[in-house]
Point group: C2
Chain length 303, copies 2
């Protein structure tokens, strides 16, 4: 099959939902275009901004890092070493090598040094590891951005991540989570502006991009992520996508267009309720401490 764009080269990837097949070069152009569309449509950031990208070493974050550098954005990366022996050091090796190759600044936060490596935390906190780990990562992501005066945080969340999270939140109609589901969250309540430039592309498309661009990423799944409910919702959405091509993006964009504005209008001014952590200054929820200082407190009490 010929590439449906240049009509010269042999197609190497077929994108059913776009009714297209691309050769390697045209696919990379198409992929960059999708990311640029996302950035422009949501006014995520400009070339004057200092961008901080969260990187795990996986295909999504390294691919996004690559795209942003190739498109000429000013990007630094943040790697949070989760302190999971046999896993975190391998992830870091990939991130460090990629950082050297691409020539961007890399900031590292070591959770062992912070006193809260994930394996230790999950012994003290009765929640799914992915939930508490996500909370800690978001905390340091914000803190590093604030302390180093970055303009915006970006993450490699893709269409599958976003649509499956929306799917889960819609099945349970969690309005508070639904309100915060968007490719761009403005800076508010002591948190930095946050953007997801990959919201228009799928996992499969990112994997193809990483392959074509020869990005050496970390493929292992986190040993603590077993039983994460999101993989179930992702599989369900993939079944729906097979039945009805394009449903993922239609579902996600339809929500942003039709329902999110209604939720935004109805949103109570949560600024009123916000207090700040008496130890670190991060937004706090209860007893004067933020969620991460609360975890630190719990771990110290156990000592």
């Amino acid at each position: 099959m010929k590439c449906t764009r240049c009509r010269k080269n042999q197609a190497e990837i077929e994108l059913i939902r776009h009714n297209a097949a691309f050769c390697r070069d045209c696919f990379v152009d198409f992929f960059h275009l999708q990311v640029q569309k996302a950035i422009k449509q949501w006014k995520m950031f400009s070339k004057d901004d200092n961008i901080l990208i969260a990187v795990s070493g996986g295909k999504d974050s390294l691919s996004l890092w690559n795209v942003l550098v190739e498109l000429g954005y000013n990007v630094s990366a943040l790697f949070i070493d989760l302190g999971i022996d046999g896993f975190s050091e391998k992830a870091f090796a990939k991130v460090e090598a990629f950082s050297n190759k691409i020539g961007s600044k890399l900031i590292v936060v070591d959770l062992k040094k912070e006193g809260i490596p994930i394996p230790k935390v999950i012994k003290s906190v009765r929640r799914h590891p992915c939930s508490v780990c996500g909370q800690i990562k978001r905390y340091y992501f914000n803190m590093v951005a604030i302390k180093n005066d970055f303009d915006v945080l970006v993450t490699g969340h893709n269409l599958d991540d976003e649509a499956s999270r929306l799917f889960a939140n819609v099945l349970h109609w969690k309005s508070e989570y639904l309100q915060d589901q968007a490719p761009l969250l403005p800076s508010e309540n002591g948190l930095k502006k946050k953007a997801k430039p990959f919201f228009r592309v799928t996992e499969q498309e990112i994997a193809a991009y990483a392959f074509f661009k020869d990005i050496d990423y970390f493929v292992n799944e986190c040993p603590l992520s077993k039983g994460a409910i999101f993989s179930f919702y992702k599989k369900e959405l993939n079944r729906l996508e097979c039945e009805s091509h394009g449903i993922k993006i239609e579902f996600y964009q339809g929500f942003l267009k039709e329902i999110r504005p209604l939720l935004q209008n109805a949103k109570k001014d949560r600024n009123d309720k916000i207090t700040f952590c008496e130890r670190c200054g991060y937004p706090a929820t209860k007893n004067g401490l933020c969620s991460v200082c609360n975890i630190k407190e719990k771990i110290n009490l156990k000592k």
Copy 2:
């Protein structure tokens, strides 16, 4: 296993989502209670109202008819003979027999006499048979209720019907359809008040009720309903329910509580746009005729 309600008799049915198992009598009580809850919660109708129930001969409509009569409501039934040879006459036989047994009034509309039997209609209208058939049934249902001065229309739509319709409408975010998704639609725009007293019970629970009550219903599937997309969404929801018991009702009721009020607030006053059919007086959408008079017009032009 003993019945979890009376703790005396042997349980005959297990309801995982309610974490209960019932003997025959307790299940029937439980089932009636679910219907009464639905009627009261949504103020659907009272014992003073003249109720018109749409009956197809299937388990849902005959079971609902039975429940309403047993609960002491004043119910008449409407059967619409779709004119599908080898199918409609069998459905009617079940309805007629049940009507005689239960002693309620039965009104019949014969689509052959109306000039629009479904097999003839689908040759002239390029839509899925279920879509156009539903439209025609709603039309006569309303017309009969208006002409005979009924207070409310009821249908046997159950939780599976409602949740799968919501699921489909949510995946595509069809706000206009979402606005009209509720167990009770008030009388407006020339249409009668419409209620779905079975919205809290599942297909499986209704089948058990029909079995326990020895209701002789029509089991055949309509020969024209092949490829109806709703059966796909029903299957998907059943998969989700297996993974997470109670998700169907949570999904449906969560929508009614969290999202529907927002959609209602945002709803443009559609009364402004409504015109009435110059032939039959039913709400019309285009060229001065309602959808059913439009179908009749098409069929007459083909003659």
